[in-house]
């Protein structure tokens, strides 16, 4: 069981690294072609009013939903340079 848990944990990290590398590469290409690579969004705390607003506060921490994780369907187009805050 511990082996499975460890494997899942490191698999998640590897997936994050791969996803980040792909996104960063795409952003670099887009920027090189004169596109807008990194739109800036507001801080959201989950703070949940993130603005850090909250919740630094991440109140909240709250995160927006670009770059959805492996098991979460992306559902909106709010960019996250901007996690909320608590």
């Amino acid at each position: 069981m511990a082996v499975v848990r460890t494997a899942a944990r490191w698999s998640a990290l590897v997936a994050m690294i791969a996803g980040a590398a792909i996104s960063a590469g795409i952003a670099a290409v887009v920027q090189a072609c004169g596109g807008k690579a990194e739109p800036k969004g507001p801080p959201t705390e989950s703070g949940v009013d993130g603005s850090a607003d909250a919740d630094s506060g991440p109140d909240g921490p709250v995160i927006s939903l670009d770059g959805a994780g492996p098991d979460i369907a992306p559902t909106n187009d709010v960019s996250l340079d901007t996690v909320p805050a608590e």
């Binding site: 800036k40 603005s51 850090a52 607003d53 608590e86």
Partner: protein
């Protein structure tokens, strides 16, 4: 009057400031609408279709530059539309009303002030409105301070329809925010609560709480109307009053039956409080660790919290199955990279589930910003503060090259705590010049951690074992409707 709030988008949880002020405006008979977009062109098109009387913004420092640009664009196209700003930035930087594109600002909490301000703007008789400043015939009518509402139960519940009616995502997102209290009595130098407490000294209590009955009634009403699986309390410090917390947790367990998240302060956490929270359904807390260096944490940030207190608080919370999200800052005045790295070590020792790090931003009128200006650690130009606190370090470098290493450390912070195995490689990793990749990595890990350890924690059968055993399927089924049991939109 017809008021339109323009917002850049608020992520997964709708903006509370806008929702509360909207509810107060509706109660006073005004019409309220919302435009949510990151594009000023979309905002202009929406306004052009049906121009409102008032265009309102809830503004934090950093984002103020964007909203000012929006206000200028709107004023150019629709000069008769009144532009109104509220929120933290105009509260601590009221000089913004002098900008030609801004017609009025609200200082402090807006529920009482905003309706009176709209009356004054409509009457154009130059009446003074406490808590507001507005322009009339080229002059600024300046009101005094308005003490915040002391009896929070008298305020209308936040206007969730404003967001939920236009956003299926917001409506269906299973984490719903609530505010059970306002304020914090502590004197941390970087926090706006200290400044607010000084502003309202003698006129307001530092912490104002709603009655537990009112909080529970609101949660039940929201759960009745929209899908909800997790209650997310936004309160700055949920556990200041032990008696209030005990009564609220008892009611939450008895009358709500949903898991919840809240924020605590390490010095207030002991075995008894942790057990109270767990029995109420608490599955996760946010807690400020802030800095691993004892001198910075206590002499500079004035947290007055020892390392042992932090470790003990985490132990108490973990013992009852509550996950801990720590809040940390790097890039503090006088902080070297090595000092910032010690914050990683403290978080590893505390075994927090997610260590969230931000880059310190010196916000206007905070004690630490003023001190940093005096010591030369901060240039003093608040216009250069970024739109969020995950990006650039504003402090002077203590050691050449530290700024880049500290900014990279912020991106890698949570991963280094979650994977202590890579801690020994951290010095080499932060020296790599890969800002875009590190930013993407941070975003992914941040998101993963929120869902894994907090948003979805109600699914974990280990959680809530003090609650008398979870109902089948977790806390969620006791309140949410059976029509749609899919966990996420």
């Amino acid at each position: 009057m017809r008021v339109v709030f323009a917002s850049m988008g608020t992520g997964e949880v709708a903006s509370f400031g806008i929702m509360y002020v909207s509810a107060a405006l509706r109660r006073a008979g005004h019409e309220v609408e919302l435009i949510e977009s990151e594009s000023v062109d979309i905002v202009l098109r929406a306004i052009g279709r049906d121009p409102p009387d008032v265009l309102a913004f809830s503004v934090t420092t950093g984002l103020h530059r964007i909203y000012l640009a929006w206000a200028r664009a709107v004023k150019r196209a629709f000069p008769w539309v009144i532009t109104l700003m509220g929120g933290p930035h105009p509260t601590f930087f009221p000089e913004i009303v002098e900008d030609p594109s801004i017609d009025a600002i609200v200082i402090g909490e807006g529920e009482a002030t905003a309706p009176l301000l709209l009356d004054a703007l409509g009457a154009r008789d130059g009446r003074v409105v406490d808590g507001a400043r507005y322009k009339l015939d080229g002059a600024i009518v300046q009101g005094g301070l308005r003490a915040p509402e002391q009896h929070l139960d008298t305020l209308p519940w936040p206007d969730r329809e404003l967001f939920f009616n236009r956003s299926r995502f917001h409506a269906r997102f299973p984490v719903k925010p609530f505010l059970a209290s306002r304020g914090c009595p502590y004197r941390c130098t970087y926090c706006f609560n200290r400044t607010l407490n000084d502003m309202y000294r003698g006129r307001s209590r530092a912490v104002r709480t709603r009655s537990p009955a009112s909080v529970v009634a609101e949660i039940r009403e929201v759960a009745r109307r929209w899908p909800m699986k997790l209650v997310w309390f936004l309160d700055a410090n949920f556990v200041v009053s032990r008696r209030w917390v005990e009564e609220l947790c008892e009611r939450l367990a008895r009358d709500v039956g949903l898991p919840f998240y809240c924020k605590v302060r390490p010095n207030l956490v002991d075995e008894s409080l942790a057990r109270t929270l767990a029995l109420g359904g608490c599955t996760g807390v946010g807690m400020g660790v802030e800095c691993g260096d004892d001198r910075l944490r206590n002499a500079v940030l004035e947290r007055n919290i020892s390392r042992e207190t932090i470790l003990n608080a985490c132990r108490c919370l973990h013992d009852v199955g509550i996950a801990v999200m720590s809040f940390n800052m790097v890039g503090l005045p006088g902080e070297t990279y090595e000092m910032a790295r010690s914050t990683v070590d403290l978080n590893i020792e505390a075994r927090v589930e997610y260590a969230m790090a931000t880059v310190f931003q010196p916000y206007p009128r905070t004690v630490l910003a003023q001190r940093a200006i005096e010591t030369g650690d901060f240039h003093g130009d608040f216009e250069r503060i970024d739109t969020n606190y995950y990006s650039t370090c504003q402090m002077r470098e203590s050691v050449p090259g530290d700024r880049a290493r500290i900014e990279n450390l912020q991106r890698l912070f949570g991963i280094a705590v979650a994977f202590p195995e890579i801690r020994r490689h951290l010095d080499r990793l932060v020296a790599i010049n890969a800002p875009r990749f590190y930013r993407e990595l941070f975003k992914r890990h941040h998101r993963h951690s929120f869902y894994r350890h907090f948003y979805e924690r109600y699914r974990n059968p280990e959680v809530g074992r003090l609650h008398g055993g979870l109902p089948a399927g977790g806390f969620s089924r006791s309140m949410t409707s059976g029509k749609d049991d899919r966990p996420w939109p």
